[in-house]
Point group: C2
Chain length 685, copies 2
């Protein structure tokens, strides 16, 4: 026994040693990679040819990117160790930030930079700046592209430290490359059934709540800023619109850390759906809100007064951009669904996956090209793809697309968080004002509270399945800030106000991710929130004991009911192979259109025609995937109602899924797939 | 019967109609997307604020990228139709080129461009160009980054057509973003067993053959250019180094079209391996060769004379860069293998896949940062990953990584080919010289012949399994040019010579992809090359009839034998969980090191210890994956030898795989997985 233990211990020690060797190897490679271009620069100094310099610049870029790649690698290895040891206090994003911080400190205080590569400010005779500049330098022409405008006080800093400036990415990278996959993945992985069941509450939190939060924070910060001005603590302009902008960008919650723990511990699915749905949608609201606030530009000299017209214009812009992005996203999702429905692309999984990826990407580009917000479009595209297109894909492509976006999301998220850590030390225009920071933390807290508690109170009036107070506290606690807040803050750091916001936001993100994220498990047990809830198991329990089924019609009943009927009768049959044939649901005048749009499967199912080469898909499985297993939650406190017999059609559908629906004879889809047990059981009965 | 047929026909017509609707919808979206920014520009004209212009530029970029995304979408849909109808004359890459051509024509002749966005050449007082430029424009500072040098005759063109210039990507995009996944995928999907079996021949074709081809083409083109100069057909300088450069870049073959058909028709695996291996490796050779030729810079005034020192320097550079890139690629592959071996990362597939992806990407960045060639490093990294790391991955990650790189390869490849089509009309400095073009086609033909036929003759002296003349003709025919040639030509189009090369190369690619690619099936039947060869089936046939096994030791025997022994005894045990424990293969003096490096599995296997929580992997499966099913080819002509009894150890290993090996008792690995039928069968026997 003792011998076995010592073997175990020594084996474990051996493995840990190996890991350390590997990790230090990685660090060594990273350091040597980071230092090698610096050595190379000495030899390059002699040669002042442009090509050499461009090559040098390319090498430098590669080395910079390499630092991040190796940071991510380190994060992965460490997070594996944490997961392996079931250590839940630090999520991978929090860890990525820590590593980023460390590398930031090294870059700032350890690495020495040669001073020869400073850019030289030149005085060109130009009336206005152009996106492209052709410069005639001693007879040769060079093409330069505009990167950004630099504030005059920044010019000296720029010249100060080339190295730090080099590891600073173009802020648009976050918006155009890193955020889209994250947001798309969020939309694509929304737990649909719970999302739709709690749709009313989620929309309330996301829209009303975010606007409340934005204005509360904006007003509080305006008070704080006014006080600072009186005390002489303010070193530059800070207008009310700036305060509102701050409110908007800091209202985007990103509880990725909390959700990961929820997922792992199987916390109540409704709480999960509420938090996730809110965080996904409020990102979209915050983006559009902040751009509308920036667009608020009253005419005349004093550009920071109140003006009704400008306000209306901003409001119109908010509505226009939001609805435009929404429509675009949904439209491309629908096009993809139609393409995958009416072609047999599913026979070629690579083509199918590629098409899915390209169509989803094109949503972003289309929205950006039309002047809408790509990130918002991508979100709604993701939701549409998950709700319709996903059902048309072959099982292999379903896996492929899920895994692809999961990977992209993972990489992009950790990249952003490690960059966040890095930028705390490498960003050269930080303005840390203690009073502003304290004010911001307070305002963020109050803003979150003003979002959650009053809205929950109102929502509970209408909800049957109340949002209990411990759930409310948890939602309050889970108001972490993350990638979206960061990306919105770093986008524009030209003015004093923006720089102070950026620095403060960084601290808000660090604090919430580390403290709130790290304390999630403690908070869960402190609030006595049930863990280990298996949604399927819960479902079967309620089936076994029929009287326990709880009516779900009261909660968000009208919204959900309208949506469900429309979706089931029209959208599903049009966009997927499932649902009743349109010929039975559409009015007779639309006959030809209905026949054109209805899937051949629906006809075949209806006419009981079996064709040899019919590309029969799992019509039955498709339905059950989406609605067949809608769970009926039981209250953790034990409160139960027994209105099992008073249920209406909709409720019965929710409880039994579409199998039941088919049996009642009102719908004509008869699934052909005999291998599906629940249906054949029904037939035999 | 007639009724059924008419239903069939009408159904088919309906489907085709739907497809047309969908495709035209896509086209409509693409056109409207492309035209919308143009409309927007009118309103933007009034506002000369930089931010607006930058936003405009971003929108334009989105629209440009959108064009390509939609092109790829169209390509996918069309290629699906082709595959669906088993139409093999046009591969997706050929189709992508056609669509690119069409869009190029539209952009060039149909779309009107507003003329206000021309870049203005400015005369700045600078001594030398810098990578970053700070420009002081009426009090505000703007940061510009160097894009490229423009030749003086190009300056006017640049001003001519902003629209066409806009859809022109930075040529470095191809090298730094699009080529790496293609090349990595090629390495990662090398059919390893056949690749290693034909290693000698492949290396000969790739190294010797490419150098021969480069010099033959270079010499022929020098003759052609000299003739043109005499006839007064030459409008600029064209030196011998330019000719050699042309020879190098046009020597990179890319028979992706042919290989796709080979794969589909199951053409002889050896021919496949020869062609694929050659094309993969000669890309690497061509890249390094061309950069070495560019680096040939004799000192003194006349920079295009022969100088021994400069030649030696170039040669040294070739060897240095190639071996450096090779080592780096292999090194990161080995690091990844070690990390995946010594951690239990396989429990978390997402982390595992992410790590794999990041490590592979870091190879590229590391090589570029060190001044080596990233593309070459990535190729050898891919081969190493496939040979070692792949065996350490969990089955799910094996699928994920394969599918991920398959998708990236597909997208990048089709993007490049559609860009190729586009650029024929949108590139503004084409120089089409009929004489040069005819000369180039001839030279490419002769160069390919001088590569294949003499080398095959020499190789056949040493090979037992001769490369028959019809295989040689097929290899000659399959010398398509593709992505690599294009990427190398577009990288630098500053001089007259380079522009003429670029235009000519485009035509070479078009011709070979369409004509040679499209005629592959005809050529196969014309040359009477057997199709429908199933490597596994072939294998079992030779097993059933033991006397038919053909010795493979003669072909590349010494090279393969050395490699195989080293790999099996040392590399596999160090880098994967399979193979004999190092304690038995390494000399006793290396005892501690051997114990440290040997996988716990190997110990456990050796000691017959079964642990409850041992992370037992499919040791057996791993081996069989790599060596267990090495096929023994039968000659298509029916020529057979029966030296089955005279086979030596190595040959027996090849025939039976490692299962046999284990049974002979000389090795100590006893696979633990009882579910593997071949091994258990052996035991029962």
């Amino acid at each position: 026994m003792l011998a076995k233990m010592s073997v175990d211990v020594s084996l474990r020690a051996l493995r840990t040693l190996r890991l350390l060797v590997l990790v230090s190897l990685c660090v060594f490679i990273s350091v040597s990679a980071a230092s090698s271009p610096a050595q190379e620069e000495d030899s390059a100094m002699e040669n002042i040819v442009t090509e050499k310099k461009a090559e040098e610049s390319h090498r430098q870029d590669s080395a910079d990117l390499l630092i991040f790649i190796l940071l991510l690698t380190l994060t992965i290895l460490t997070i594996w160790l944490f997961k392996h040891r079931r250590f839940r206090f630090l999520h991978e994003t929090g860890l990525a930030m820590i590593y980023g911080l460390i590398v930031g400190v090294i870059l700032r205080y350890v690495v020495q930079v040669p001073q020869d590569t400073k850019p030289v400010p030149t005085s060109c005779l130009l009336n206005a700046s152009t996106p492209t500049l052709l410069v005639n330098i001693s007879g040769k022409f060079y093409e330069y592209t505009l990167k950004r405008e630099i504030s005059s006080n920044e010019v000296n800093d720029v010249k100060d430290n080339e190295m730090l400036r080099k590891v600073t990415f173009d802020p648009e990278v976050f918006f155009n490359i890193l955020l889209p996959p994250i947001i798309f993945h969020a939309g694509y992985s929304l737990k649909r059934r719970h999302f739709f069941r709690n749709m009313g509450s989620i929309l309330a939190y996301a829209f009303v709540g975010t606007v409340i939060s934005c204005f509360i924070i904006g007003l509080l910060m305006y008070g704080c800023v006014t006080l600072m001005k009186h005390l002489g603590q303010l070193g530059g302009d800070f207008f009310f619109t700036d305060c509102l902008f701050f409110g908007a960008i800091v209202s985007a919650t990103d509880p990725v850390t909390v959700l990961a723990i929820f997922h792992e511990l199987h916390v109540d699915v409704d709480l999960y759906a509420l938090l996730f749905g809110e965080s996904v949608l409020n990102d979209a609201v915050a983006v559009v809100l902040s751009s509308s606030i920036v667009a608020y530009q009253p005419q005349g000299d004093n550009s920071h007064t109140f003006e009704a017209m400008a306000l209306l214009k901003s409001l119109g812009m908010f509505l226009g951009v939001f609805s435009g992005s929404f429509s675009l996203g949904v439209a491309t999702g629908i096009v993809t669904a139609l393409v995958t429905k009416f072609t047999k692309l599913r026979d070629f999984q690579l083509l199918e996956t590629a098409l899915f990826f390209l169509m989803s990407w094109s949503t972003f580009l289309l929205a950006e090209a039309c002047g809408f917000t790509g990130v918002v479009a991508v979100l709604f595209c993701g939701i549409t793809q998950a709700h319709y297109t996903f059902n048309n894909l072959s099982p292999e492509s379903q896996d492929r697309t899920k895994q692809l976006f999961e990977l992209l999301n993972f990489l992009a998220e950790n990249f952003i968080f490690s960059y966040m850590g890095l930028t705390l030390f490498t960003f050269q225009n930080h303005i840390f004002n203690p009073m502003f920071i304290v004010g911001a933390f307070l305002a963020v807290f109050v803003g979150r509270a003003a979002n959650i508690y009053p809205l929950s109170l109102l929502l509970n009036l209408g909800r049957f399945n109340k949002i209990r107070s411990n759930f409310q506290h948890m939602m309050m606690f889970a108001g972490l800030r993350g990638a979206m807040t960061f990306a919105l803050s770093i986008r524009d750091t030209a003015t004093y106000a923006r720089q102070m916001m950026f620095s403060t936001n960084l601290l808000v993100v660090f604090f919430t991710v580390w403290v709130c994220g790290g304390g999630t498990t403690q908070m869960l047990s402190c609030l006595r929130i049930r863990v280990g809830v298996d949604s399927d198991q819960e479902n079967s329990v309620s089936f076994a004991d029929g009287s326990e089924r709880r009516s779900t019609k009261q909660e968000s009943a009208w919204l959900f009911r309208i949506w469900y009927n429309f979706d089931h009768n029209y959208l599903k049959p049009i966009l997927t192979h499932s649902g009743p044939p349109l010929t039975t649901t559409l009015p007779p005048c639309c006959g030809p259109l209905a026949r054109f749009l209805t899937s051949p499967q629906a006809y075949e199912n209806e006419c009981q025609l079996k064709d040899d080469d019919s590309d029969l898909i799992l019509t039955d499985g498709d339905i059950s995937l989406t609605y067949g297993d809608i769970t009926v939650s039981t209250d953790a406190t034990g409160a139960r109602t027994s209105d099992g017999l008073a249920t209406d059609d909709l409720d019965r559908e929710l409880a039994y899924g579409d199998h039941e629906l088919v049996m009642r004879g009102t719908r004509l889809v008869l699934p052909m797939d005999d291998s599906e047990p629940p249906f054949t059981d029904h037939l035999r009965m």
